[in-house]
């Protein structure tokens, strides 16, 4: 589900449960979720691999920092 549809459903649920105080927290969480979903490490089923070539290189073994304890 999109962040917007998630937020609408969550706000309605919070309202129905008498938790109106949750609404600002849900809106803040929605912003954070949107940021998370835009991140360049997320894989892309259409193109294959990460959205970002840099993130893809970081995932491959032997790159800087990989394999350290």
């Amino acid at each position: 589900m999109t962040v917007q549809s998630w937020l609408e459903a969550a706000l309605a649920d919070a309202e129905a449960r008498g938790l109106a105080d949750l609404r600002p927290l849900l809106r803040s969480l929605a912003e954070a979720t949107a940021l998370l979903r835009r991140a360049d490490w997320n894989e892309d089923a259409e193109r294959g691999g990460q959205r970002s070539a840099a993130a893809a290189r970081q995932r491959r073994p032997g790159t800087s920092g990989d394999g350290q304890r």
Binding site: A10, D13, L29, L36
Partner: protein, 451 residues
């Protein structure tokens, strides 16, 4: 014998005095109990004071030492515990009405190790309810107050532990750190706080907040003291005191300073205090190298999507049966976690791996990372936002901003006191070491400590 300074001496000094006969473990314990009787009513650092048990343990310590059985530098030293940590026969309240009537049936592993090291367990410290906060003001037992300014928070969630150590009500305390809950209050109260590497210190017998982020560690008044307590709870108490090891010289250190993100949003007094520490270290010969954590602006989002659902999963059944027994703000955040979708939790786990590799990479060219611990001095009790850089910023996000990354990545991190801010409030600077090299980090910390 004049032991008027007893509550303020180091663990090492106390150990010396006990073995020279200048003071007994019973004297040290009584000094702490007197300090608690005097200071705790105003600070609310303790939920349970184990006076009778502590006196009995202290007598036993003195008898053992007289008989030649020396358990090491913590033998006879009064230590407190965050009230998330089980002590056999004693309630673990988690500062919550939810835990009313609970009594621990066995010691947490860290408690067993402290007993083996001869420590005297002086009491259970107040905290933010279920460790789910950064100010220690949402507690079924009332807020913990900052020893420097009681109108301010002691930080959290291990606020009681920090206040106890800072004031001499205990010589050290054991806290927990999931987003910064050892380092935040340690910085707010002016003491040392160590979050070891993830998984190093057993968490069994400790009430969880977020299992993939939870750490257990010491708060103390010096790096030397933190070293001794860390090794006791790590199960290696026989290690030599830090002062007896070959000294790391500041001039041998390369410290990585990540200014993007980590030095962008700082109270001006905190910025001045941190810059003064940086300058001091440079004068001592340390070299500052500039590093980056490229995905730093995603830290908070990643942290939220892991910590919230992990905490909510633990509390789900109680949340449904007894929601009113939580403090309001903790209840709301637990409810919030139940809305996080599994796909976003998985995205956050991937993001955590990205951050872990980036911190590893940042550490490649240096001995430790250097950054502030808290972007603001301890906030006033009841404040949900503070003015910073012309904006009203939520307190919670600010308090977590510079610490939560290393709970995500598992790197060891220690906060040390800076010189006070212009308003005379404590603040701290952090050093972060390579994963699974907590010992090395503490050696570096001792070299950097402003003593």
């Amino acid at each position: 014998m004049d032991n008027a300074d007893l509550p303020a001496v180091s663990i090492g000094e106390l150990a010396t005095r006990i073995r020279s006969g200048r003071v007994s473990a019973a004297d040290a314990t009584e000094a702490c109990l007197e300090k608690i009787a005097r200071d705790n009513p105003g600070l609310n650092a303790f939920i349970t004071v184990l006076a009778d048990e502590a006196r009995a343990q202290a007598r036993q310590s003195d008898q053992e030492l007289s008989a030649g059985r020396d358990r090491g530098p913590l033998h006879g030293v009064p230590v407190s515990l965050k009230d998330l940590i089980d002590v056999r026969g004693v309630p673990t309240t988690a500062a919550s009405r939810v835990r009313g009537g609970h009594v621990a049936s066995r010691d947490a592993t860290v408690v067993t190790r402290l007993r083996e090291a001869g420590a005297v367990l002086i009491g259970k410290c107040n905290l933010h309810e279920f460790a789910f906060g950064t100010t220690s003001e949402d507690s079924a037992f009332g807020p913990v107050r900052n020893p420097i300014d009681p109108s301010r928070s002691a930080g959290g969630s291990s606020g009681g532990s920090a206040a106890a150590v800072a004031t001499g009500m205990a010589f050290a305390s054991i806290g927990t750190d999931t987003g910064g809950s050892i380092r935040i209050p340690a910085a707010a109260c002016g003491c040392v706080g160590l979050k070891p590497s993830y998984g190093e210190i057993p968490c069994d017998g400790v009430v969880p907040l977020s299992r993939s982020l939870d750490h257990v560690g010491p708060l103390a008044r010096s790096v030397d003291d933190a070293w001794l307590v860390y090794h006791a709870i790590a199960g290696t108490p026989a290690v030599a005191p830090l002062a007896m090891r070959d000294r790391t010289a500041p001039s041998s250190l390369r410290l990585g300073l990540a200014e993007p993100y980590f030095c962008e949003v700082l109270d001006e007094e905190v910025r001045s205090a941190f810059e003064a520490e940086r300058a001091r270290l440079e004068r001592a010969g340390a070299r500052i190298v500039h590093v980056e954590v490229p995905h730093a602006h995603e830290i908070a989002s990643i942290y939220l999507h892991i910590q919230l659902p992990e905490a909510s999963a633990y509390h789900a059944s109680v949340l449904e049966r007894r929601p009113g027994d939580y403090t309001r703000s903790v209840r709301l955040r637990l409810e919030l976690g139940r809305y996080v979708l599994a796909e976003d939790y998985l995205r956050a786990l991937e993001g955590r791996e990205v951050l872990r590799r980036e911190v590893d990479a940042a550490l490649e060219g240096c001995d430790a990372l250097l950054l502030p611990t808290l972007p603001i001095p301890a906030p006033r009790l009841g404040a949900s936002a503070v003015a910073l850089g012309g904006r009203n910023e939520p307190v919670r996000g600010l308090m977590l901003r510079l610490t939560q990354l290393f709970d995500l990545t598992g790197h060891p991190a220690v906060t040390l006191p800076c010189s006070r801010t212009a308003s005379l409030m404590p603040c701290g600077f952090q050093l972060v070491g390579r994963r699974d090299q907590t010992t090395g980090l503490l050696e570096i910390a001792r070299a950097c400590e402003n003593r």
